[in-house]
Amino acid sequence: MTANTYPIDNVRADFPALRQTVNGCPLTYLDNAATTLKPEAVVEAVRQHYREESANIHRGVHHLSQKATEAYEAARDKVQHFLHAEQREEIIFTSGTTAAINTVAHAFGSTIHADDEIILSEMEHHSNIVPWQMLRERTGCVLRVIPITDDGQLDLAAYEAMLGPRTKLVSVVYVSNSLGTVNPVQRVIDAAHAHGAKVLVDAAQAVACRAVDVRALDCDFLAFSGHKIFGPTGVGVLYGKRVLLDALPPFFGGGDMILSVSFERTTYNALPYKFEAGTPHIAGVIGLGAALDYVNALGLAGIAAHEEDVRDYATRLIARIPGVRLYGTAPEKAAILSFVLEGVHPHDVGQILDTHGVAVRAGHHCTQPVMQRYGIPATARASFSIYNTRADADRLAAAIMQTKELFG
């Protein structure tokens, strides 16, 4: 599919939030890296669950519970196929990327000892930093950090020099939420495996804009959130290789993750339930399934082509505004533009853009080490998705010009 045949009008019509005006202007939603809007199909799937099949799952003697269980487990199959995972048991539903990473930090973390090394990168989201610092507190392990280059790429030479016999895990982001960089995770994984280390990929920003194949990548763990791929908030996925998940202890204990419980001894349930204690976000999982159906129907190849077109157009437009400096100019980038307007704090940029109906994020984007790396307190970030157009980029550029004028 080329950009010309991409059904942009249909896509826009599928997202009810786009029909509103903000401050008298049509909504220009460019905060997709924070969360994406939801298509009617997802809203309807969640609504339908609550209206017609609201019941708890895996306790299926009655009709509604069976319906809910089927829908919930069907969503697991959808995720399995979406990620090209070998087995459905490798798909664990969590509350989001953060919960998925914390699960690995505890379950895989139980195999980590003092002086073992975990490699992260300087462009990680706080959710892929703090759980490992907490593990360091518990175990005395060592965290090593892959530096980033001036244009926002991983310094792979530095990374490869860090790998060694003590390296137990490499946990890196696929697509940077603050710089937009698409990291060469295949090379990261291959290099780690050559040293016997496992790899966790934070795919929160990646899954909505590029095909992710966990078998081709051969990653050991991968995490993403539903709400960044047009699904509900409060639901996410941890993928893990079965051989690893089978061997690891559970993180949360509770109902549904057991086979039998007595005060003397508890037997854990099989995968994936071992890692899904308690009643999960059933409606959220069903909504995520609907979101993946939506993305599959549109096709990730067409999505990628469309977003590349809008990204390149927006980049050209924004970069030529005097006083604008872009952060994150790697050759491989998602449609995320992080920028600073000279003399105007990013929060003020965000506030004035809002008066034009343009929604962007301003701040450190939960990546304070990235801000420290570039010596800036914050950036404004415009992130584009499947329903954004060149006209959205035009409105962004015009609003930046107005901001310049006001603060001039």
Partner: protein, 154 residues
């Protein structure tokens, strides 16, 4: 344009953002404290020089933040110079009431004067902390505490 550009970014605020007054470290300060907004990373250190009679002789600050926080610090420094510590506390209460949209909290005898340009801030909940940041640092300095964050108390 309308909304924030009128209510929030008034000319006086834009002017103080462009040319902030008293923005420097104050050597020999008798009181100082840091103010940090962990949500956005805005950070200032507020310095006071208070004489033996309890009169604030000099106010200065350094740090970084948005136009609202910077203009607020700048105008606070002007408003406090020459006031007593008791008056500074009263002005803190009055300013906090103003930016939170609770003007009934303003004491009758406390004149906010130019600071009333911040009267539109309460309509923008995300920005209330920006306007109040340096004022919280001020109070921490007066109370002899080294640091405060906007998450401690609004």
């Amino acid at each position: 344009m309308s909304g924030a550009s009128d209510e929030l970014y008034q000319q006086v605020i834009l002017d103080h953002n462009r040319t902030p007054r008293n923005m420097r470290a104050l050597l020999g300060a008798t009181h100082q404290a840091q103010g940090l907004n962990p949500l956005c990373g805005d950070a200032y250190t507020v310095y006071l020089s208070i004489d033996g009679a309890g009169v604030i002789r000099e106010v200065a600050y350094e740090g970084h933040g948005c136009a609202i926080s910077k203009a607020s610090a700048s105008m606070m420094s002007e408003a406090l110079t020459g006031r007593t510590v008791a008056q500074a506390h009263a002005l803190f209460d009055a300013f906090r009431g103003l930016v939170m949209g609770k003007s009934e909290a303003t004491p009758q005898d406390c004149d906010l004067g130019k600071l009333r340009v911040f009267s539109g801030v309460w309509r923008y909940p995300a920005r209330v902390k920006c306007a109040a940041l340096c004022w919280h640092a001020l109070r921490s300095a007066l109370d002899g505490q080294g640091a405060t964050t906007t998450e401690d108390k609004l």
